[in-house]
């Protein structure tokens, strides 16, 4: 095995350092600042996010290992880091008003959010199981806290606890899988595992069991059926901006790490896992969509819809050649735009204490806030995969990849599922445009006020959704350039 020259290059982690430093500055400022000026924390964290993103954009391309081969920066990780920063930035914009209204406007919120972001960034840059695990845990623990952040609400507390307990289970599975890999390869680096698997042509059951445990562990994080049980409760209980964040960023991070592990460390294992993941993908799509049909709570409905979307992404993952993986990247970015856009609007409509998050609460919204309703429809149609939106282009990309690799049956199940999904997305547009609020209290009849920060978040999302839907060429190119070298 070639020895990797030990090198420590802090340059390789500048973007992470910026985010982490911002988070710590916020924590310090928080201790000394007067009670009222919390808004500044939000803008400060936003500045950190933007600075970090600029550094990523300015960094030269190419693949580079550092920290004794445990850390890799390539286009793949750059792509995902930018995606996470986008996601975090939008979430900060969405959170500002929410926190104030709920009376939980603390600096910690932003600090924890930023730490979660660092965790996600570590995950995608990890070239070693320990690094990936470190990132995953940092992210997860921050998410547990954020889920319970509205501590006055019981449902939020319950969600946090549930998330924590089940998340710990997942961690256990993951760790066990890593241990087995270590046992087989004698090292925790992805590279050495790849060498072992190539040489032994998969007779080693330790690795197969490790792989299954790995799929289970990540399956929890990306909410794959049957490991999805926590998702609806957690998504419903968490503060709305965090729900949006969780369904886009951390999910993308888990997918990114999963793909890196399977493509870099287990490239020869394809035949061993394809059938298993095939079944999981079908289950995930179908259960997610069918159960979403009967949800009245929009957050819960979007939770199930996000399960279904994970299923679509798994379809592309199964067709894991160049087209499949680039379609995953494209889809995750599209999903970030459309889902965060939708959650931005839900956050505003939900109002104080998230009292109005049922489908019928959207009744008449189309006439009270025509522009916002049009935006909401745009995001929903995109989620449903109707052109000319990012969601359609993403599904088109995924199903092309599946058909190209000969998974016609899987693609068929996928499109049938996306027809099912149309129904529940339509329910919201029906409420917005075709129903009048029946017993709305007097105060809610007027237009809901949209604060500027959220308007910016919505506009960015809408721009992303339309741009990726109508002129996707640039994004496709970026996705194609961001592949991991496939062996």
């Amino acid at each position: 095995m070639e020895s990797i020259i030990a090198q420590i290059s802090f340059q390789a982690i500048y973007p992470e350092i910026v985010i982490a430093a911002t988070a710590m500055i916020i924590l310090l400022l928080q201790a000394f600042s007067p009670r009222e000026s919390k808004k500044v924390m939000g803008y400060l964290s936003l500045a950190g996010v933007i600075l970090s993103a600029l550094m990523l954009l300015g960094s030269p391309g190419g693949t580079e290992y550092s920290f004794s081969g445990t850390w890799v920066i390539d286009n793949y990780s750059r792509f995902f880091k930018l995606l996470f920063l986008l996601c975090t930035g939008l979430t900060i914009l969405i959170s500002l008003k929410y926190l104030k209204e709920e009376g939980i406007h603390h600096g910690e919120y932003f600090a924890i959010l930023l730490f979660a972001t660092v965790g996600m960034m570590i995950m995608v840059s990890g070239a070693d199981f320990i690094t990936i695990f470190l990132g995953l845990e940092l992210m997860s623990i921050c998410l547990y806290v954020l889920t319970g952040y509205t501590r006055g609400r019981q449902i939020s507390n319950e969600a946090a606890l549930k998330y924590f307990v089940l998340g710990s289970f997942a961690t256990g599975f993951l760790l066990y899988g890593i241990a087995l890999f270590y046992g087989a390869a004698g090292s925790t680096s992805l590279k050495s595992l790849a060498d072992i698997t190539v040489r032994n042509s998969f007779q080693n059951y330790t690795i197969i069991i490790g792989m299954v445990l790995m799929i289970i562990g990540f399956g929890f994080k990306i909410a794959v059926v049957p490991f999805h049980m926590w998702t609806p409760d957690v998504y419903q209980g968490a503060p709305a901006p965090i729900t949006g964040f969780m369904s886009a960023g951390p999910k993308a991070a888990a997918f990114a790490a999963l793909i890196r592990i399977f493509v870099e460390a287990l490239p020869s294992a394809r035949n061993e896992w394809v059938d298993l993941v095939w079944i999981l993908a079908v289950l995930t799509m179908t259960v997610g969509n069918v159960v979403a049909l009967v949800q009245d709570n929009v957050k819960r409905m979007l939770a199930y819809s996000s399960i279904a979307h994970a299923g679509y992404i798994m379809v592309a993952f199964i067709a894991a050649r160049e087209m499949g993986i680039s379609s995953v990247l494209f889809y995750l970015l599209a999903y970030t735009f459309m889902n965060l856009g939708a959650f931005a609007i839900i956050t505003v409509i939900g109002g104080r204490n998230e009292e109005r998050v049922n489908v019928q609460d959207f009744a008449g919204f189309g006439y009270r806030n025509p522009v916002a309703a049009v935006m909401m429809s745009l995001f929903l149609f995109s989620l449903a995969g109707i052109p000319p939106t990012a969601g359609f282009m993403g599904k088109f990309y995924i199903f092309s990849a599946a058909i190209k690799e000969g998974f016609l049956g899987l693609a068929l199940i996928g499109v049938v599922n996306s027809v099912i999904s149309v129904y529940y997305y339509l329910r919201v547009t029906i409420a917005m445009y075709m129903k009048e609020p029946e017993t709305a209290p007097a105060g809610t009849m007027g237009a809901v006020l949209f604060p500027p920060a959220i308007i910016i978040a919505i506009l960015i999302s809408a721009y992303g959704v339309l741009r990726m839907g109508i002129f996707p060429s640039d994004f496709i190119q970026i996705a194609q350039q961001s592949l991991i070298a496939i062996k």
Binding site: S400, V416, I430, M434
Partner: protein
């Protein structure tokens, strides 16, 4: 290829967008201004589309007015527009009916006029795009995008069961089209295998010799998408709901243009791409078409609601279109194409007439009327012409189409031709019986005594249709000429495969 030296197809397609932008800028309470702007936009679109007809080269089957620019290069998707003799009249029909549709809801829609007009214009973009697109991806985008405005038109401005109808319309059409998407993707990779480059160019696919077995499945996938849209029996159940609930303009567009997207799809894609499968499916489709003709007519007879009657008559009429098309001879296909236009005009006009009655009385029950000719003589006259046109009385447009279709059908299969001819009689039965009950007799209802005859606005949108009815009926040559070359080429292409498949079958037998 483009005699105008100007991207005229894109101009036509996106002109409504200019109207939409304009309407967005207008205050939502200025209804008159919004209506005028929408109307002017559609009229201008119609006028701009007229040069298509005059500059159209009738001697060639090649695509004309072609525009092609790369769009999503990674997938080989290009922005590719063009029309031939098959799409020309449909484009003109779309621009023509859209203008009339705007006019027809001048007073019928009084709430949310702004959103309504935007939806109508948006719909026009989608429909024109479908008829002009020569790139599969582009075609699919337009095909799907037009669902959204129609969904809102039915769901917001429709009748009491509008939500049910809108959702049913959306899900039904969507479920057909996603299968088509899979088929398109399969074709895409087949084309890649054959040619070595990625492309969604429809014309390129025509030369793709798809293995007969694959053709079967691909044909099925496309068939479902188009059959739902047409709608063919037994995929028609969304149509009466959508028609009955939609506001007048929605019904006019739905019947006039949207249904043609299905029949157009068969002509543009199914027949040339899967000739062997098409030939194999001829018996199935012709039988289904004849069932549709008879079934649609019988159900129409039983209706007590005029709009439902017209809706079911569409099922019957579209049956004729399918019958003629799959007779796979010149008379049949040309008859089918002309019948698409006819159905757009006649059924569109019938819906407009129903709309006029509805606006006056707010009911569509036949039993609520009777003796209308005494108070509305002009309306009675126009309604009669429309009904005659719909049932195919000689001298009017419907006759030409049905005659050609029946000639084609008889050539293909005498028995089916005979049954289809019987459908004509049934058509006369439901239309004349309905006409008798609504127009003739004594005025039984007090409210009907004070009905006003046609207003000048109603004249404006009925007269052009009547003119076209007579024009096509008395002098169909110019219309048939436009499609002749394209239809001829299409049939040559398909029948070539008929020879091949029989030759192969013959070889097998001799062995």
């Amino acid at each position: 290829m483009n005699c105008i030296q100007f991207p005229i197809l894109s101009t036509i397609t996106y002109l409504p967008l200019a109207g939409i932008v304009g309407i967005l800028l207008i205050n939502k309470d200025k209804h008159a201004l919004i209506r005028w702007l929408a109307f002017i936009t559609t009229v201008v679109t119609f006028l701009v589309s007229l040069p298509l007809y005059f500059c159209f080269d009738q001697t060639t089957w090649n695509m004309q007015f072609v525009e092609k620019v790369p769009w999503i290069e990674a997938f080989g998707i290009s922005y590719h527009m063009g029309i031939d003799g098959i799409s020309l009249l449909l484009v003109l029909l779309t621009t023509f009916l859209s203008a009339l549709a705007v006019l027809s809801t001048w007073t019928a829609v009084t709430q949310r006029v702004k959103e309504y007009m935007i939806s109508l214009l948006f719909l026009e973009i989608g429909m024109l795009g479908v008829f002009c697109a020569l790139d599969f991806f582009l075609f699919y985008v337009f095909w799907e995008v037009m669902l959204i405005p129609m969904y809102f038109i039915i769901g917001i401005w429709g009748g009491p069961r509008r939500i049910y109808a809108a959702v049913k319309f959306f899900i039904y059409t969507m479920s057909g089209s996603v299968l088509m998407l899979l088929a398109i993707l399969t074709l895409y990779f087949m084309n890649f295998k054959a040619t070595g480059h990625y492309s969604f160019n429809i014309l390129e696919y025509y030369d793709l010799n798809i293995p007969v077995q694959a053709q079967f499945w691909l044909f099925m996938a496309f068939f479902l998408a188009f059959a739902i849209k047409v709608p063919m029996f037994p995929f028609h159940t969304w149509l009466p709901d959508a028609h009955v609930e939609a506001p007048t303009a929605g019904s006019v567009i739905l019947a006039g243009v949207l249904l043609k997207m299905g029949t157009y799809g068969f002509l543009r894609f199914s027949l040339p791409l899967f000739p062997n499968a098409s030939i194999d499916f001829v018996p199935v489709i012709m039988v289904l078409a004849v069932i549709g003709i008879i079934y649609g007519a019988l159900v129409s007879i039983a209706q007590s609601d005029i709009k439902k009657l017209v809706a079911y008559s569409s099922v019957s009429h579209l049956g004729y279109c399918m019958l003629g098309m799959f007779a796979l001879n010149t008379e049949g296909v040309e008859g089918s194409l002309i019948q698409m236009i006819n159905h757009g005009l006649s059924t569109g006009a019938l819906f407009l007439c129903v709309g006029m009655l509805y606006e006056r009385r707010h009911t569509r029950l036949i039993s609520e009327y009777g003796g209308i000719y005494k108070v509305m003589p002009w309306f009675a006259t126009l309604f009669l012409i429309t009904a005659f046109s719909s049932m195919g009385v000689p001298g009017l447009n419907g006759f030409i189409g049905e005659l050609l279709i029946l000639i084609g059908a008889f050539k293909a299969n005498v028995w089916l031709g005979l049954i289809a001819t019987a459908g004509l009689v049934l058509g006369a039965v439901y239309l004349l019986w309905m006409y008798k009950r609504v127009i003739y007799g004594e005025i039984t209802k007090e409210e009907n005594k004070s009905l006003k005859d046609m207003t000048s606005r109603e004249w404006v949108y009925m007269l052009p249709i009547v003119v076209f009815m007579f024009w096509i009926g008395l002098c169909p040559r110019p219309f048939l000429n436009t499609m002749h070359a394209s239809v001829g080429h299409l049939l040559e292409h398909v029948n070539q495969h008929r020879v091949v498949s029989t030759a192969v079958a013959g070889c097998n037998l001799s062995r």
